[in-house]
Amino acid sequence: MPRQALVTGLGFITPIGNDRQTVEQSLREGRHGFTPVEFLNNPDLSTKVIGTIKDFVAETPNWRDWHYPKKYVIARETLRSLSPHGLFALCAMDQAIADAQISSAELTDGETGLYCASAGSTMVLHHHVARLLATKGERCGPLGVVSSIAGTLNFNLAAHYGIRGAVGGYVAACASSSHALGCALDDIRLGRQKRMIVVGAEEITPESILPFAAMRALSGNADPATASRPFDQERDGFVGAGGATVMIIEEAEFAQQRGAPVYAEFAGWGQAADGHSVAVSHPQGSGLADAITRCLKDTGLTPTDIDYINAHATSTPAGDRSEAHAFRTTFTNVGAKPRVSSTKGLTGHPLSMAGVMEAAFCSLAIQEKFIPGNHHLQTPDEACEGLDLPRATLDEAPRTVLSTSSGFGGSNVGLIFRQS
């Protein structure tokens, strides 16, 4: 029998909660994590709302300015090479390791790997490059590279926790941490690792979020209650967000032998690309439809086996329409009608972190027996015709759940979790 993988630990630093219980409560009650913002003290900017991390202040490149809950004890030599999203990731990883009931010694035996995803820290990189240019290349903070470039999460976390298995990073924009999860599952199936830790994190700074305003991808809606409304006719762009989410998956026999707590089985994955545009999804969602089909095939399931889809849908006009078409192609057209929702209506869009955050939501939903709703959805786009889009969270126990992700360049990923 091929090796199976189980989800055994989760850690959350998200706009809707910094622990599992708060996240679940927010998903059940439809509590969003948005806060009004005036980036760069400029009231003329159209970006008025972001998904914020509560109880943390980490908005400058200097770790000495940061504040975070006292329960996280972090040495200064560790903080020195982190960027703000590295701080979020380290705190989420501490949570996930405790949640999975793993000792620090177990992490260092080479059987545990670590895959991470983030865009790096544009703010910290800019800070160091500005000094470099001001000194005509003569001077730059020596920790500038490891604290800021894409890869900073795996550099720091692998060193901090003493991880000696497979360590690396994934860069596919908003599909990044879903790729990381899929490849982590492959490592377990191939017997290369017993345990994989997958981390997604992003920071919430003008440098990380405003470039998307330049692409006309962000909502200009100033009302936190309606700015992010995936699948709605009136949606006008995504709401930027950040934080960190960590998921620990373990080979099933290994997990069972040690009596690990189990959320769900991570049953399969698939990916496919649009081959269409650098930034815009294929209008008919062809790459995503292919990714879902491959994911179902990998898992040995049919469309009617899926009870719930946690959609990537970010609240952009083109992206949500494309995704709705992909769901109609793969589900509606073959007589399957799973529940569909996008939890980005509550969280906003945390970019590279979205995949693992939503995979973690799916694992929670399976364990705690609920289906998150589309809390800000009022009038669905006509492209959603035939899709079952519950508004409120349902007290229904989903057995099999699909989570989708799409990133720039038309990268698409599907992940399937089911009751173990």
């Binding site: 913002v37 908005e59 400058t60 300015d65 200064r76 030599e77 003569e138 001077r139 020596p142 920790l143």
Partner: protein, 134 residues
């Protein structure tokens, strides 16, 4: 929110000596005593004051687990890696802070020969003496 904070050293505010922006930023995390020591070095070329600043920078780079185990008064013989537990990356960072504050450049070939507190202290004395002459 989203305003960048930069605290200037208070010592410079009451002093006629004007710190460079990079020295002010690099000194910001240190105590008033350390900042005043740097002003004393700048205004009087008091090299023992420069030593105080260097020692403070080194202590700031000692790993948390070692902080309680190092003597309050470091000797010239204390080794940076062995006695203070500062790894090579952190030594690079400490040296960067020294470069920013004292506005000197420390070459790789020189850095390779700086193993102890005394090495660094004497090297910096030579370096700033040359800078002053030029």
């Amino acid at each position: 929110m989203h305003q960048r904070r930069m605290e200037p050293p208070t010592a410079s505010e009451s002093s006629p000596i004007q710190l460079s922006d990079q020295a002010a930023e690099a000194l910001a995390p240190f105590s008033v005593e350390v900042r005043e020591a740097f002003i004393r070095y700048l205004s009087l070329r008091d090299m023992s004051a420069a030593d105080e600043v260097v020692i403070a920078i080194l202590k700031d780079h000692v790993p948390s687990r070692k902080v309680e185990h190092i003597p309050t008064n470091l000797t010239d013989e204390s080794t940076l890696m062995g006695d203070l537990g500062i790894d090579s990356v952190s030594i690079s960072d400490a040296v960067f802070v020294i470069e920013e504050i004292f506005d000197v450049s420390i070459a790789n070939k020189d850095l390779a020969n700086l193993h102890t507190v005394g090495d660094l202290r004497h090297y910096l004395r030579g370096k700033v003496a040359r800078t002053t002459v030029s």
